[in-house]
Amino acid sequence: MKIAIASGKGGTGKTTIATNLAYAAAEQGRLAVYLDCDVEEPNGHIFLKPTVDEERPITRPVPQVDASLCNGCGACGQACQFSAIVCIGDKPLLFPKLCHSCGGCVRACPTGALSEVPREIGTLRIGRSGQLGFIEGRLNVGEAMSPPAIRAVKAAAPVADLTIIDAPPGTSCPVIESVRGCDMVLLVTEPTPFGLNDLGLAVEMVSAMKLPMRVVINRAGRDGKTREFCDRNGIRILAEIPDVRSVAEAYSRGALIAELSPTYREGMECLLDALGQGVAR
């Protein structure tokens, strides 16, 4: 099963939940893997402290011109929807950062003057944290587009009983790329006006993707608006994590809360059960 941990608002606790859930599942003996798809700001490694077995560049194909074969017809520039290749002065001019790697220009070229070469956009790190598989994608600073790096993380994922995907914040294309193909989305929210507003946006996004969703309320308090919202929309709340200083402090220093105390470990195991992913104890 593949579960994506997402939110609308940043800082609600996605990485806290994702790392602790994945860790608890692996400790229970499940074949589990954690994928850090927040390639712009990957933080899973802070908590899981993985042993990295392999590090390799993430690349995407961009066009290259063989000038000896090019006849300046401009078909490549006509085909490209992104202005990554244009014909000016009878010669193709390349803007690799605009390229979406669709291969359209290569198809359009009548003389075979275009081929594709890899362009590096980030780094993939593959390893493990105890029994848990770990894969992280890290986008190079200055690169604008995350989805290709996110696809690379998912492509590198091994087969597992349980795959936990740590998604970036927001509701646009990086989150969609992270969440696509998952069996369920767990939305982590906080009971504040901003949190509730962004939860609404996230729910719209997941609904548009036609995926089942559940909610975890982090830093839960007495405010009932989030619960009302979930009830009104028929979304099950699987857990409420109280606003407790010890959790905040553990997070701030990069500790797994499941290691803090048996109570938190059990809490994570209960959450796994609620997701249908616990093992009989």
């Binding site: 992104f82 202005s83 014909c87 002065g89 605009l98 604008a144």
Partner: protein, 120 residues
Amino acid sequence: MRIAVTAQGTDREAKVDPRFGRAKYFVVVDTESGQLEAVDNNVNLNAVQGAGIQAAQKVAALRADAVLTGNVGPKAFTALQAGKVTVYVGVVGTVREALEKFQAGQLKQATAASVEGHWL
């Protein structure tokens, strides 16, 4: 010489459009014959990316030797250079005034983009 000017209208009295990629029109004047041609740049107004590059290609395809405008970003500048179009930025006033300043040698040729790109 053929000079292209980014413009908000289609004749010599039109104001220079400070944008290059999303300029409303390109007014191209042949300095020898005095003939004027105005080309609509509407297709680039809503372009998601590459407006500057497409505009540069259009200007090069119009066989302009130089372009007078407000600002040019880095990719548009590279594309204009590839098209052998010399670039003049910071140009204000009407198309007529811009052309007069150009012919009087009062405009300085740009050696680089005058503004940052937007995000890519």
